[in-house]
């Protein structure tokens, strides 16, 4: 009360601005008058006078006007200011540019997290979340099989089921949507992505093992009023994205986001009788409502989503209505429908800004009907998720605490050929996370959660992250944590249906398909050092992560006629080492290079083996250059991404007939992508690009393609691009 009195009884500085271009002093209206280094300013009145708040701590008053020299006056006490402006001969406009890196690494956070901004997302123009990682060295993107055209991501050498993938902190790509879920999030909906290597936080659940990926979506209040993105590629893939955002009232905004993509042209470049990529149609809609009331400290989101996706793959001659369920031709259809409703409610105490409470809920219904040749796979997954988080501090803001409760419910109903699998999973959990920041060299995040799960039992999930800065521009990080999950063996390995392999579950008695839950510990160290090289910014990162499985559901492909699932007996680990070097070599030019080494081994029934189809070595380089932004806001942007992977082990084909046997290892694969963007104005830009422009191809991605109903048929031996080079063009139009 007292203090607000002081605040309102502010001292004012008075003065007048004059000019003398005519030889005598005349009042100069419309001049800018402001305190240097502040946003406090005013404009001189018609009579040249001005009035602005005075503070002792400001003593540089800046007065400027077009055509006059900008003056800075030292003001040591609150007296009347009388200032005469001198005309200037040239008009010099100085612009300050702040360069934002497209991928930002944090020197401060405890977890090894980096943020991929929308600028980075534009580097790979196409098209959904899976593809947006192609310019990122920490994440590998590769095809799962030769039929579905699905891209899968890996982190630390582990498949996406071991990564917690969330949109706005609600785990979304899990369960039934694990296999294709990344292609259900259009790239233009994504505002930024946060990637955490290692176990991550306990706040979002216990499932993450290799890392966490969170995609922040565009928000009605900040996204463009209108956004249109059109994309067309030489393979006749077409995509359309439109966003409409509008303010409904002072506090409410809403956005409608529409995505459609289609590909209806049949391609068979390698002449094996199989489509190189499936035919597909996707309609994807989202409606967001945002409520913001800053005075009361309330923020809320309501999201509604609907998705319909249809894919058709297999032999070129295959006609679904005639050939389905027959051995005329081999074909596959995957139809997915999904609804989602999610809400977010946040309250920040306006009196005490470090206290806040948030509640998130999400409900989704996911239904996939599909067949792969004569294999049928249907899944329905209903899921409910809720998480309540309370943020506060202990004693002062160096000690932050997050605590809360979560509840999840999942119901699965699956049909695998003739066998029905139905199960319910639910869990109640409580978590507590303490974060310490000494505001200098050390940050620690220590979290613990306890969960009661109907199938995984009662268990504790500890996670710990530490960041220490031994010297300038460096960050040394350490993390350790545990994760536990139930493996959705069919949904996660749907690619196995596109083969003649027999599916066997070798254990019984476990709680999920007769198998035990997967449990792993993840440990990591990383070191980031920023420095100047020839006066330009550069940084290097070394990191090493190890994941040790206590139990794993082993997916064993080592017999060409079978795929076997069983509980791990013995060891299974994934070691991942990464070296990264980033350099801003000259203005507008950024270079990012990385080397990665994987050592991933599992005790199979046939002995300890390297995990198949994972390269030991990988090289990555991305170079981007952009010209200076012109006055009108036009600009050129160039982007090139190079990837090289070493040999990968094929699963054993020793038992196959000689003609179907493969080499022990794949050849190495190198690909190059280029993109050129011409920005005409902040409103309009076009881009042109080529993927895999050196036209690298895997010649025989389908084993026994000429006899797809024979016992050796398999589309899972995919290690490289199937289609060859592909060119695309697109445009983006936006109204702020």
């Amino acid at each position: 009360m007292f203090l607000s009195l002081i605040a309102t009884a502010q001292e004012q500085l008075k003065g007048i601005v004059l000019e003398s271009s005519t030889g005598q002093s005349m009042p100069l209206p419309g001049a800018n008058v402001y305190w240097s280094g502040s946003s406090i300013g005013t404009i001189s009145q018609d009579d040249g006078t001005f009035l602005l708040p005075y503070k002792f701590s400001y003593n540089q008053l800046v007065i400027s006007y077009v055509g006059f020299k900008t003056d800075t006056i030292t003001v040591n006490e609150n007296t009347y200011i009388k200032h005469v402006m001198q005309t200037s001969d040239e008009l010099d406009a100085v612009e300050i540019k702040s360069r934002n890196q497209a991928t930002r690494k944090s020197y401060m956070q405890a977890a090894n997290t980096f943020t991929v901004t929308s600028a980075e997302l534009l580097k790979a123009a196409c098209c959904n979340l899976a593809e947006s990682f192609e310019t990122n060295p920490s994440i590998d993107v590769n095809f799962t099989d030769a039929v579905s055209g699905t891209k899968q991501i890996k982190m630390l050498g582990l498949n996406s089921p071991y990564i917690l993938i969330a949109t706005e902190n609600i785990p979304t790509i899990r369960g039934a949507s694990q296999a294709y879920g990344l292609s259900f999030i259009p790239g233009t909906w994504v505002e930024s992505i946060q990637i955490t290597k290692g176990t991550g936080s306990v706040v979002n659940g216990f499932e993450s093992i290799a890392g966490q990926i969170n995609a922040e979506l565009v928000k009605p209040s900040t996204d463009n009023k209108l956004f249109v993105n059109l994309y067309g590629a030489s393979n006749e893939r077409l995509e359309l994205n439109t966003h409409f955002n509008t303010k409904v009232s002072n506090k409410w905004s809403t956005g409608l986001y529409v995505h459609g993509n289609t590909h209806q042209e049949k391609h068979d470049v390698n002449d094996d009788g199989f489509l190189d990529m499936p035919l597909y149609n996707q309609i994807n809609l989202m409606n967001r409502w945002q409520y913001t009331n800053l005075e009361k400290g309330l923020v809320s989101f309501i999201n509604l989503r609907y998705l319909n996706d249809e894919k058709q793959g297999g032999q070129v001659e295959f006609k679904p209505d005639i050939d389905r369920g027959t051995t005329n031709f081999w074909g596959s259809e995957i139809d997915t429908e999904r609804f989602e409703v999610s809400t977010k409610f946040g309250y920040v105490n306006p009196e005490i800004p470090y206290q806040s409470i948030g509640l998130q809920t999400a409900f989704s219904h996911h239904k996939q009907d599909s067949y792969f040749g004569l294999n049928v796979y249907d899944i329905q997954h209903n899921s409910f998720y809720s998480n309540l988080v309370y943020n506060t501090i202990i004693s002062d803001s160096r000690h932050k605490v997050k605590t809360g409760l979560s509840f999840t419910y999942d119901h699965y109903d699956e049909l695998v050929n003739t066998q029905n699998y139905e199960r319910t999973e639910n869990s109640v959990g409580a978590f507590f996370e303490y974060a310490y920041d000494n505001l200098d060299k050390l940050t620690i995040t220590a979290g613990l959660r306890v969960d009661q799960h109907n199938r995984l039992g009662f268990f504790v999930t500890p996670r710990f992250h530490l960041r220490y800065t031994p010297w300038e521009k460096s960050a040394l990080r350490f993390s350790i944590g545990r994760g536990k999950r139930s493996a959705n063996i069919f949904a996660e390995n749907q690619n196995m249906f596109s083969s003649s392999r027999q599916i066997n579950i070798l254990n019984s008695g476990g709680k999920v398909y007769g198998l035990n839950p997967e449990i792993a510990w993840n440990y990591g160290v990383s070191y980031l050092q920023g420095f100047n090289l020839f006066n330009r910014k550069a940084d290097v990162t070394f990191d090493f992560y190890r994941t040790d499985f206590q139990n794993q559901v082993v997916v064993d492909w080592e017999n060409p006629y079978e795929v076997n699932f069983y509980n791990l007996e013995g060891d299974s680990y994934a070691n991942s080492f990464q070296f990264e070097f980033n350099y801003n070599a000259f203005e507008g030019f950024d270079l990012r290079t990385a080397y990665k080494y994987y050592d991933i081994k599992t005790d199979y029934n046939s002995g300890m083996l390297e995990k198949p189809l994972i390269p030991k070595h990988r090289l990555f380089a991305n170079a981007s250059y952009e010209t200076n932004l012109s006055d009108k806001g036009s600009q050129w942007k160039f982007d090139a991404t190079y990837n090289w992977v070493s040999q990968q082990r094929f699963p054993s084909t020793e038992l196959s007939a000689a003609e179907y046997q493969l080499d022990d290892e794949t050849p190495t694969v190198a690909t190059l992508n280029l993109q050129l963007t011409k920005v005409f104005s902040p409103k309009f830009e076009v881009y042109l690009g080529g993927e895999n422009i050196t036209n690298v191809r895997q010649d025989n991605p389908v084993v026994s393609a000429d006899n797809p109903f024979g016992s050796n048929f398999d589309s899972n031996f995919v290690y490289g691009p199937i289609y060859g080079s592909m060119y695309y063009a697109g445009l983006r139009f936006r109204i702020k």
Binding site: F2, G37, T70, V94, E351, D396, L439
Partner: protein
């Protein structure tokens, strides 16, 4: 008014809020000012704005007061309305943060003056 003041004096507030002016120029200053404030026993939250030069505080009145906090901030070299940093304290700030120096101030003034 009398009533209010009495309340303030007798029922000391655990989460008292106040805003004080502190002189400084840049992000480094911000870090230094906030650190000094938060490391004062009893201060729970401290946020300084480069633009307005205001330091927003939440503190426990039973443990500290504005004078103590101002002293602490001044001791790392930043002038507050109530307590000024000594020449010696002021000299400990990084050369680019010498907010009393005209050239340094010039360097930090916004350069985007397009008309």
């Amino acid at each position: 008014m009398t009533l209010l003041v009495t309340t303030l004096t007798f029922a000391q507030n655990k989460n008292a809020k106040a805003t004080i002016e502190v002189d400084g120029v840049c992000g480094m200053c911000k870090e230094r000012i906030e650190k000094a404030a938060i490391r004062t026993k009893g201060v729970k939250s401290a946020v300084w704005s480069i633009d307005t030069h205001e330091l927003k505080l939440i503190f426990d009145e039973r443990k500290t007061d504005l004078k103590t906090i101002s002293k602490k901030v001044a001791s790392v070299g930043h002038d507050t309305k109530e307590v000024k940093a000594t020449e010696e304290q002021y000299n400990t700030v990084h050369p680019c943060c010498r907010y009393r120096d005209e050239d340094v101030k010039d360097d930090h003034k916004p350069k985007a003056e397009k008309h």
